[in-house]
Subunit: 153 residues, 2 copies
């Protein structure tokens, strides 16, 4: 129950009465929550997510809902690979980065390339703001950002 | 239907008769398939996965089952973060690698460090065999390998 007479996004989507015991209410109480929950419901099912939440300590539930929502939205966007496309993309970056660095190192060794004043040849290549997503907006931004990158092969 | 009189792992788990039209049979026909399907069923639900498969071209279904199984097993192992823990871990590697490299570059610039004969200062640091997982065994190995690394904060 999110407020006097109002239902959480989950209960709105499921067209049911929201109660004080609603396990979803604390995490689906914002605008458009019903739309986000629709993805979670389609991919995981309300019952499965409810069971998972009830088996977690309350302080872990928010993280669980954020990561479940991320997986659900990724699977809606890419039904074949889901968020695993993001894992492949990151693994490729991790695997290819040393080779890119070797080019820089060899260039320095051969041509005595001057190190930038900030000492960081790769600054801006892998921005810190990709680091973690902690809100639904960031998840959506990450998904849209990944849209072109995480090709599904 | 995987053979005369035998049921696929899904139908064994669901204790139902397997038919020629079973959408799961081609992908859950190995030893222990019922155990793997149990994870998929617990996290996603058989009905949701069945619907997803039926909306995909046949040639995409194997990849979908592999990635869905990976997500399901990761969520069973880590109910809070699931496979998103792996994404965080990889993002941290991508973000921290340039800093590690800067140390090498600065060492070279300051002390004229000799480049190894293979020209690869980082060989073995990020093994290629982490690159992709394409079978259920590899998925399980990846998950066990990640067990210590992908801490859930």
């Amino acid at each position: 129950m999110t407020g006097l007479g109002s239902s959480c996004g989950t209960c709105k989507f499921l067209r049911r009465k929201c109660s004080n015991e609603c396990v979803f209410a604390p995490y689906f109480c914002y605008d458009d929550a019903a739309n986000y929950f629709a993805a979670v419901h389609k991919v995981f099912g309300a019952s499965n997510v409810s069971k998972l939440l009830l088996h977690l300590p309350v302080h872990n539930r928010s993280d669980a809902i954020v990561t479940i929502s991320y997986e659900a939205l990724a699977r809606i966007r890419d039904p074949v690979f889901g968020c695993v496309a993001h894992i492949f993309s990151l693994q490729q970056q991790v695997a290819s980065l040393p080779e890119e660095i070797e080019v820089h190192i060899n260039q320095m060794a051969n041509h005595a390339v001057e190190i930038p004043s900030n000492g960081n040849l790769l600054a801006g290549k892998y921005p810190d703001d990709e680091m973690r997503f902690v809100s639904m907006d960031e998840i959506m931004n990450t998904l849209y950002f990944q849209d072109e990158q995480a090709t599904t092969g």
